[in-house]
Symmetry: C2
């Protein structure tokens, strides 16, 4: 993997770049649609590609449990298995294991946990997590990290941070295939000095890229941004920086400002399945009665297939009727909304006007959010 820095905005940390992988290039800043179980829910690979996605995310924890990484390898690897010949990043599963709560036990050697599918007991270590990802054949692999809940004491965070560093070393030692990149993960909770320490420790180990993990796990938005701002600039300039599991369009715009290059989040796809559609103005809760006879598209400024061909009234009809096509059309729209935002972000950086873009964007969105908020009050969501 190679990371080419194409431009840097003179007025902030925003960077324009390109990640070159064996399965193609990734234009950064990039948003990665989430394809947890070997499918970006509801979409065909060709549809995902047509939305201008360069890379998608797969999940080690889920694929290890079902259908199994060896099965996927026997059938030609994850790209072939799911018919996506373009770049794939696999998450290590640290976050999923953390989410299991009482079903997992973390020790220095690794994590013992029970499958959410059938309750069977499994053990994953920094070594096995890298081996599984090498077996899957993803382009970018993630280290196993210890993600902890918010709130947590400084002592707890410090302990998880230290363990994440030791696990990072073990992942790096296991990493064997030069065709696959390995990213380290920075923890540190909401303690900026611990975030700094994490950034230094992981940088000194040396990875192909660096991720900021353990944010967007329940902490207030201001704390998330503060810790992001404290961490991102400390990460090596010449490597991609990935903010894991974040977030809203506003979060993305803000994080790029601080120098983040990569994102993933279930928000566009999950919201789509729940009938919540993104626009440049207020959000559209498609089941609302106000859209019953609305012949206009979800977003008249959107260039997606859904907005080009269907009315809000039709989408509402599909959604309230429980039709599968609602999931398909909504997902197309929301993902395109995110990916088009990334295009606009890249364009603004290329033209050296990112701070202005960011300020305008956040101002407009704040205005839009007030209108959108009204829907929540009526309880129609």
């Amino acid at each position: 993997m190679e990371f080419r820095r194409i431009a840097k905005d003179p007025g902030c940390g925003a960077r324009l770049g390109k990640i070159v992988t064996p399965h193609g290039d990734v234009r950064t800043p990039a948003f990665m649609p989430v394809g947890t179980q070997g499918t970006v829910k509801a979409l065909l690979p060709e549809q995902i590609r047509s939305l201008e996605a360069d890379i998608i995310l797969g999940n080690t924890y889920h694929l290890y449990l079902r259908p199994g990484h060896r099965l996927i390898a026997a059938l030609g690897g994850l790209h072939r298995f799911m018919n996506w010949p373009h770049p794939i990043l696999t998450d290590s599963g640290g976050f999923q294991i953390y989410s299991l709560g009482a079903l997992r036990r973390i020790a220095e050697e690794g994590v013992t946990f029970q499958s959410h599918i059938d309750g069977s007991t499994h053990f994953l270590s920094p070594e096995t997590v890298v081996e599984i990802q090498e077996t899957l054949g993803s382009d970018i692999m993630m280290c196993l990290d210890e993600c902890i809940a918010y709130p947590a004491t400084r002592e707890e965070v410090e302990r998880a941070l230290a363990r994440t560093a030791r696990w990072g070393e073990r992942c790096k030692k296991t990493h064997n295939n030069p065709e696959q990149a390995l990213f380290g993960i920075i923890q540190g909770g909401v303690y900026p000095d611990l975030r700094r320490r994490g950034a230094e420790e992981m940088s000194s180990i040396g990875f192909d890229g660096y991720a900021i993990g353990g944010l967007s796990v329940g902490e207030p938005k201001a704390l998330m941004l503060e810790n992001l701002a404290a961490t991102a600039p400390l990460l090596p300039e010449e490597r991609p920086r990935y903010l894991m599991g974040v977030g809203t369009p506003e979060d993305l715009v803000e994080a790029v400002f601080h120098g983040i290059d990569m994102f993933d989040c279930v928000m566009p796809t999950r919201s789509a399945r729940n009938g919540l559609l993104f626009t440049n103005g207020e959000k559209v809760v498609i089941k609302n009665a106000r859209y019953r006879e609305d012949g206009s598209p979800v977003d008249s400024e959107c260039d997606c297939y859904t907005c080009q061909n269907y009315s809000r009234a039709y989408l509402r009809h599909l959604y309230v009727s429980g039709e599968i096509l609602a999931m398909v059309l909504n997902t197309i729209h929301n993902l395109r909304h995110y990916l088009r935002l990334m295009e606009r972000i890249r364009e603004a950086i290329r033209e050296g006007r990112y701070p202005d873009f960011r300020n305008r964007f956040l101002r407009e969105r704040t205005a839009g959010a007030v209108e959108g908020g009204a829907d929540a009050v009526t309880g129609e969501r």
Copy 2:
């Protein structure tokens, strides 16, 4: 609407033809994918079209209740609403109302029934059913008929038959828009002489096409075929003949032999969503453990997108994981299986070898069914 007869097989009743509608041509014998609620479940219109479907079916009962025919008309009609610019046939809703059982009361004037959605009370008559279909703007409309359960006494069937004829006259009188065709429906239960009477009565009223209804409602297959064979040849040669709600690939092949030109059935789409996939050999119950590591396509002879790009192992993984994409890929395959069968049927008629095609097909399928039957025994479906 115009029906052009292109060829007739010299050895049986099979006919090759073309129905010309304001929204395009329909090659017959034709299979119509079912799009009850304004969507062929799980598929985009472009996907349906790419499977070589010429026409789809919409349902008056469902669309009347939700989202409402006037709403659809206000948004440009059913074609525009659902983004399907090709021919549409709308069923009258007679069968759906019949299926409501205790929730409906049938009188000479029409049918009073309660909505399956919200329990609200509605009244549909032969006149309103035609008016609703004119409002929807379908290319082919169906008369309101009285469909009765199997088994039924001769007296019951006779009464329903007579009423269906009187309702047919009223539908015809209401029919106003020359751009839309109106088909009559032949009832008569499993009494061949009543079927004959129905065919004569409806023919003397004079419709743009004739449908055989009230079959495949629970009667033994042999009775279905006997009554089909007794009815089809009595229908006017120069009009399309439509066998409603039927059936298996074997049923289609057999019905074409007796001179049927059009079919609709939920079998390919519903089976797909239940993970039952059609092949030219045995059926594939995709969740079976035997397909866990199966790298081959569902049907190596199939030219569909699913078979060209995905393994049985991947489809099984999607299905057992409850992924929406399973519904999409399975529906593409099953519909293509049906539509490709129609292509083969038309080719056999064109080449004057339909009886031979039919005999081979039924022989092969019977052999395949025995193998397929084993799955049911293991209870793995």
